[in-house]
Structures are given as C-alpha cells and as structure tokens.
Chain length 326, copies 2
C-alpha cells in the first residue's frame, strides 16, 4: 500500500507546501518556548490530513484562494492541541517517533501550549468573520473534549459496547475531520446539498481513520508507527477489535481475555495470547469490515460531484485512511 | 473591611442570583462527570467578579436584558478553566477551602474539563453573533495561556523584574477582567469613549485584583484564604512584595533572601525571616501603594459616567479588590 501513499503525496505536494507555510505563519505566539513546544509535535511529520481536507473540499466546490490555506491551520492547531493534552493525560512516551512534548518541556508547559493552540484556532476562526465557521469550530472543540472524557471514564470497562465506541470515536476524532470538510464547503459558499455531502464524507472518513488507528495499535510495527504497539490496551482503552472479540468469545475464552485486559502489567506472552484470541474470533477482520463499509459510504457521498482530479484525491484518501501502515 | 463586602453583596444580590442561574443553565455538558468536575470548583463560592463586571458595565451604559447574564457566563467559564488547569500544573492541594478538582477527579478529567469550559465559553461567545465579542473572547484566551507560560518560565528566576511582573499579571489576570468590562460595553452598543473608559477601568481593576491576591499570599490567614499562605513562594513565583524587597535589600540581606527563595523546602522559620525582611524593606507596603494607585486610576475612568447606583458599585468593587481578606 506504499503505492497509494506515494501517489497521493505527489498529487497534493503543492498543497502540502502551502499548508506547511500557513502553519508556520499563523502560529505566532509571543514566546519562543510556546513555538518550540507546539512545533516539536506539529512539525514532526504529521499527515496534515485535516488541513488538506478543507483545501480539497473547498476546491471540489470550485473555491480556491489563500484564505482557505490560512483557515486550514485551524484544524491542525486543534488536532495538535488535543494530541498535546492526550500525551500528558495518557503518560505516553513516544509520538511520531519522537519523545512526547511533555517528556521534554514538562506537563505544565505542554498543557498551556495546548490551551494556546485551542485559543489560536478559535481566533483564526473568528478572523473568517463567518458565523457558521465560528460555530462549527467552537462546537467541535466542545465535542472533542467530551469524547475524550467519555473514553477516559470507560477505560478498563469490559461492558464498553460497539455503539458507545462509535459514539466516542465520532466525538474525539470524527467531528474534527468532518468539520474540516464542512468548513471547506462553507468557505466555498457551496449549496446545502454539496455541504451536506462533504460533511457526510468527512463523518465516514473520520470513523475510518480512527478504526484504522485502533487496528494499527495491534498490527503495526512499533518503529513504523512511531509509538508503542499495544498502547491502547496498556491504558485500558477498549477498541473495536477487542470489543468484537469479547462479544464473540466463549465464556472460557472471554475469562482469559478479561484477565489479560484488566492486568495493567500484562506480559509479551499475554499480549500474544490476546492477539491469537483476536485472530480466532476475527476481531481485526471485523473492525476492517466495519471500516471498509465506511470507506464505501464516504466515496458514495462524493458521487454527487463531477469526476475531477480533486474528487479522485478525496476518494484515494478514503482508501488510504484504511490501508495505511502508520 | 467586612463592611464593604457586605454592602457590596447586598447591592448586587439580585444580579448574583441571576448569574448563578445562568451558570447552571449554560454549563450543559453531555456527561455528568464533566458537570460534577466543573461544578466542584465553579459552585464553591467564587466571587463571580467577572460575570458581575459584564452585567454592571452593560448597565452603566444603559443596557439590560437576559442575554447579558448569559454572556456573563463566558467569563466565569474561562476563569474556571484556567483555575482547573492551574491547579493541575501547580500541584496545589486546596482551592476555595476544598480539595482541588484534580485531587478528586484526577488530572486527566480535570485537564479535559478545563478544555470543555474553554470551548463552551467560546461557543457561547459565538452565539452572541457579535464579531467584536468573539474577537475579544478568543483574543483573551490566547493571551491568558501565554501569560501563564511566561510566569512558569520565570519561576525561581531572581532577575524577574517589576515590569515583567506587571506584564505577566496583565496577561494572566488582567485581560479577562478587562474583557468582561469591555464586553459589557459592546453588548450595550456604547459609544467608543464609554467602551474605552470601561476597558481602562477593567485593566486597572485586574491589576489591583492580582496584586492584592499576591499580597494576601503573604498576609492572609490560610483558613480565610481557602488555600495555603506562602504557596507562591513555595512554587518559586516571585510577586511584587518579594520583587521590591529583593530590589531594595542590602547585598547581605539579598543573599539571605535568595537563599530562602531558592530553597523549595524552606522552613516556617525561613518564611518568618522572609516576612521580616519584607517588612524591613516595605515590600507589602510598596505593593499596596502600587495597587492603590490603580484603584484611583480605575475610579478616575468611571468619572465620565453620570453618578448612579451602578457607578457606585463599580467604585466600591475597586476598593474591595484591594482591601479584601480572601
């Protein structure tokens, strides 16, 4: 699947350059330390998925100018803010192959830099002078924090259901990706049906991205992933592959699974056993099927737009969301 | 000085009731835990200074309706968000006479509840559909986080100057109080001179409040204060009384001061010695004089308004800001 990544990257190369420049231009804190802390994570090879989505969505609706790239920064700033706070909260050690910001700059500076980025994102949204964009951006931010808390409350809860999981990932990941697509359409002053289609595309795409992330946490190579495999389980986060496996397992296997999951100090051999049980009950395959259905539904929403290079890129992004290796 | 507090409270009783109701009505998270965590601090007897200021500022400009109270919530939510994050960052144990939220709900939920309140504040600001209010609120939020980081960077730095101190307290405390007064004027559609006067009043008042807070950290009774006296110094925060004392001390006394300040485990006897040196060099008196000048300047700004009950309350608030005991 490296093929699709390379092809995608070559098709959005020019956009990515402009996005990088906009992220640098719009960061502008008074203090060098804030720039350093935010930049440590933000310029460590993120995919720029969210800013790309706003640029491409606006373009699909026939709109293009430098302001789109500026407003694209909003979504990368918000995303970075949530990652900075997440890493403080989760006590993770690595992100994108580097030590997390809080390991280098301390939790206090990291929390406050996250706050700065949240505020900066909303300030840039305000500069759009579009009430709808301001509403979308402030609404998303409210939703994300609640999704994170919902996930936190349910850590280690073996009754966490697929429905609840879907609701959590929609809040914590989906709304931001959906918001990027919607904002692109709003900036383009697109008709309601086009805005609605892009919004639904973003909703499906967001779910695909998070489910794929949760699959990678079991299947990836730690070095490729840039963080530790199995980290979700270590933190007690139950994701779709595990939820399905727990649901399908015989009482005996379920008891074995529960023992591993609830033991924060599970060993490598426990983890291998869990992977085997997941394999037996098709936990990964099930999650992949759910995600595949959302890839299909995402692409379906794009059909109402004329075929174009931009539409092709957005379709490829849905495929890439599921089939990436990191 | 209990007299002025009682008189003030009786004059704003009706407003305070409406503010309490608006805070409850506008919190509205999906999750009970978020309400509990936010409410633990927010409904623990805060002074409601910021919401009162927006209500009174709007009224001074001849404007009054239920939306003012709603938008007043913005400022209490932002204030609570910063306190929640501060308590996580500072590792404080008590606030308003109760254990801090992070001691009860853990740092993760507390950080995320702070994020929720930040977002909620900006969402309510968006509902004003006033671009100016949205700009004021998002700008303030950006400024506050930077002020906090600036303070953090300078912890334990013996060269921290009065100018830097004033700049930090303006960012971390002043802009929010100033923003409340300014927003009241904007809601009232007040003429530029009136908005400007209220904005300056708020600037001076914010400085008075923070300087008084910093004085109380040395002079108050821990029980009255609801948190530990001497906490700033324990955290390495140099405030005006100490900055002045360091500046005025003989080289010999300065060396003694520095030894106490840089020792995180200073004893009760060290602390008493510091208080004596502060007395010798008039550290508290100096800070009180600076604050008194800002009380005068704050009241000066109110002179352009006709005498009224509301103006009287705002004048009393400036006096109270300096002369309170907690």
């Amino acid at each position: 699947m490296t093929g699709i990544k390379q092809k995608l990257l070559s098709m959005v190369e020019g956009d990515l350059e402009k996005i990088e420049a906009a992220l640098e231009d719009n960061l502008t804190p008074h203090l060098a330390l804030v720039k350093e802390t935010a930049g440590h994570l933000m310029f460590a090879g993120g995919k720029r998925l969210r800013p790309l989505l706003i640029v491409l969505s606006a373009r699909l609706c026939g709109h293009e100018n430098e302001f789109v790239t500026k407003f694209a920064s909003i979504f990368e700033f918000l995303h970075t803010a949530t990652l900075l706070h997440d890493d403080v909260i989760d006590g993770a050690s690595m992100r994108r192959g580097k030590p997390v910001a809080n390991a280098l700059y301390g939790a206090p500076v990291t929390v406050l830099t996250g706050d700065f980025l949240l505020a900066r994102a909303l300030r840039i949204a305000a500069e759009s002078e579009s009430m709808r964009i301001i509403e979308v951006v402030s609404g998303m931010t409210e939703e994300i924090s609640q999704g994170e808390i919902h996930q936190l409350i349910k850590k280690g809860d073996l009754t966490f259901s697929e429905d609840e999981y879907m609701s959590v990932i929609r809040s914590k990941t989906g709304v931001l990706i959906q918001g990027a697509c919607k904002t692109g359409a709003i900036l383009a002053d697109a008709p309601p049906e086009a805005e609605d289609a892009l919004s639904r595309y973003g909703d499906h795409l967001g779910l695909v991205f998070q489910i794929a992330d949760d699959i990678l946490d079991y299947t990836a190579d730690s070095r490729e992933l840039g963080k530790t495999v199995g980290a979700d389980l270590k933190e007690g986060k139950l994701t779709l592959p595990v939820i399905h496996t727990l649901r399908e397992a015989t009482p005996e296997d379920r008891a074995r699974l529960e023992a591993i999951i609830t033991n924060a100090d599970f060993t490598q051999s426990d983890f291998r056993q869990l992977l085997e049980l997941m394999d037996t009950y098709g936990g990964i395959a099930y999650a992949q099927n759910v995600a595949t259905e959302h890839v299909r539904a995402a692409k379906e929403q794009l059909r109402r737009f004329e075929p174009s290079r931009t539409r092709e890129i957005l379709e490829m992004m849905a495929d890439y969301a599921l089939n990436r290796r990191a």
